[in-house]
Symmetry: C2
Subunit: 337 residues, 2 copies
């Protein structure tokens, strides 16, 4: 493998060669370029993506979600280890739109997935940050392509918490896995129907020790609950299993089901159809980000906005009317660009 | 009260007069105009909002959230009844970005808040629908102004589930109330730190019968948990209480705390400061919606997009490059508008 000198920025070609050669260091640095908001980096980022695109796509992309406390990190650690033992190269990404005030999730990231982070066939990249879920999702999508071009054939995209980020992750993966716990009676509590509906598989985690019986009951309840949903387009009937990440039971079943699903959707054409639809959505996400960039990047708009903020606060103008007024300005400015 | 003839659309002035006179029928129809996506309705909607703006704002806006199953509807029914008995006029709105596939929440809306819906001092308006959370939030914000102009002095904005809609509701209310249940051990599970942080008050609901002891324990746990957060800007220390919506206990305490909070933030200036910041954010939400409208409303863009979708699916162009290409077209088109 080529040795790269550490300097501030490489050329686009150096990033491309490094990623394609499987260099983890260059992969990490290329992802940093993707995540950057600097104009000069954005230009390089586009060049990288365009060049690696023909080498991407050849992986199975698995979204993993579940409420905090469900044991997501431990599950991913066990699942990732299992996959590397089977000879796969596994990339673990995450989508976590920062919490509004403190920018972070309730559990620290430091102690997560210790074993996997030392495994040379696993690549863990913490969540990129950003103001909008759309922006974060675009960047995670591009990161996924880079990992694929770098030889990772299983991509795990983890999402933290129960919210709109699940929809984003579902929109960029082939298989969507929901982790649940055997709860205290009301099994469906706290998880929205929309998320249950997206799941190709529900895994009752922490099914060990005293918890095994409760987990089997929960498994049956979920299996029944899934019957109320319409037949998914993929033709796949969602399965519910139980697993223990700490005892390493049921982990192999998860992968077997993923392979079974992949075989089905390869055969019936859903795999391709779904990826096509995802690419179209991705195009729209990109457009929306570019559009905001065009608008808010204009110096004239910026100065007008700060004046309007002042007028809104002093009640000289309503927020709705202020928006109308700046749009009129934008139309005028656009003529001059 | 004036009697209005039922016809397809009224004039803007008729909507304005009707809303200001407190007509529930006209209020409902005006909200329908606000929610409409028809161009002609949008023009009227802006006129209505601009006219009623000076009459809006004189209410306390309370956001209410909690996971499905926490008893939100029953709580709002009990709370709303208590408020009307005190002589208040209460409007109940909700924000519910539809689930991706089935457009709806897991519990039906039919049987909710039966008593309150027959109370003449309460006005219940189901969630407006829309493609984006931003769009839905803008419309709920405007609906709130209409209700205020129509004489409602307490606005309850309910949000369904645990996700990004909480941030939207928090961004448009003065007081944010989180409903919780005494759970099975892990009290913090399933609720994100970001949502806990936004809460001015946590109410342990269903604190009745066998559940009272557990609820008191949960109350203490949450009160301790809230200490880990930094002091909020409002200067208010969040309180945790317990309530039973069915036994009607603790409901009066909730209102007492709201009034105590309001007195504090009126005095220290946070009430005004917060509403100003919310108005600025609202201006930006409006701008973002208008911007999308300007772009996607263009017939040239529409036809180019459908061609690009085709090219993306047939792998002639990458989603990222397709987005770049349409942005170039948009810049050219803008010069001609």
């Amino acid at each position: 493998m080529k040795v790269y000198k550490r300097k501030n920025r490489l050329s686009a070609q150096e990033y491309i060669d490094g990623v394609l050669s499987g260099s983890r260091v260059i992969l990490s640095r290329a992802i940093t370029i993707i995540e950057s908001n600097l104009e000069s980096d954005k230009v390089i980022a586009k060049e990288i993506i365009q060049a690696i695109l023909p080498h991407s796509g050849k992986s199975i992309r698995i979204g993993i979600t579940g409420v905090p406390g469900v044991g997501k990190s431990t599950f991913i650690e066990a699942f990732g280890k299992h996959l590397t033992q089977l000879g796969h190269k596994v990339a673990i990404l995450s989508i976590d739109p920062s919490s509004q005030r403190s920018k972070g999730s309730i559990l620290g990231d430091k102690t997560r997935m210790e074993e996997l982070s030392n495994n040379e066939n696993a690549y863990i990249r913490p969540s990129s940050t950003g103001d909008t879920l759309g922006g974060v999702a675009n960047k995670t999508g591009e990161t996924m392509l880079l990992c694929e071009a770098s030889g990772y054939d299983v991509i795990l995209v983890e999402t933290v918490g129960v919210g709109q980020s699940e929809t984003a992750v579902h929109g960029m993966t082939d298989f969507f896995l929901l982790l649940m716990l055997a709860g205290a009676g009301d099994e469906l509590q706290g998880i929205k129907k929309g998320i249950m509906e997206m799941a190709n598989m529900v895994v009752i985690n922490k099914a060990d020790g005293d918890n095994i019986k409760k987990s089997e009951m929960a498994r049956l309840q979920y299996q029944n609950a899934l019957h109320i949903f319409p037949q998914p387009e993929s033709g796949w009937t969602p399965v519910v299993t139980k697993a223990s990440s700490t005892k390493n039971t049921g982990i192999d079943t998860v992968w077997e089901q993923v392979l079974k699903y992949k075989a089905l959707i390869d055969q019936n054409g859903y795999f391709l159809e779904n990826r096509n639809q995802q690419n179209i959505k991705w195009m729209y996400n990109n457009i929306n980000e570019e559009l905001k960039h065009l608008f808010y990047g204009s110096p004239e708009i910026k100065s007008k906005l700060s004046a309007l903020e002042h007028d809104v606060v002093s009640s000289h103008i309503s927020p709705v009317k202020a928006a109308q007024s700046i749009m009129e300005s934008f139309k005028k400015i656009s003529k001059k660009i």
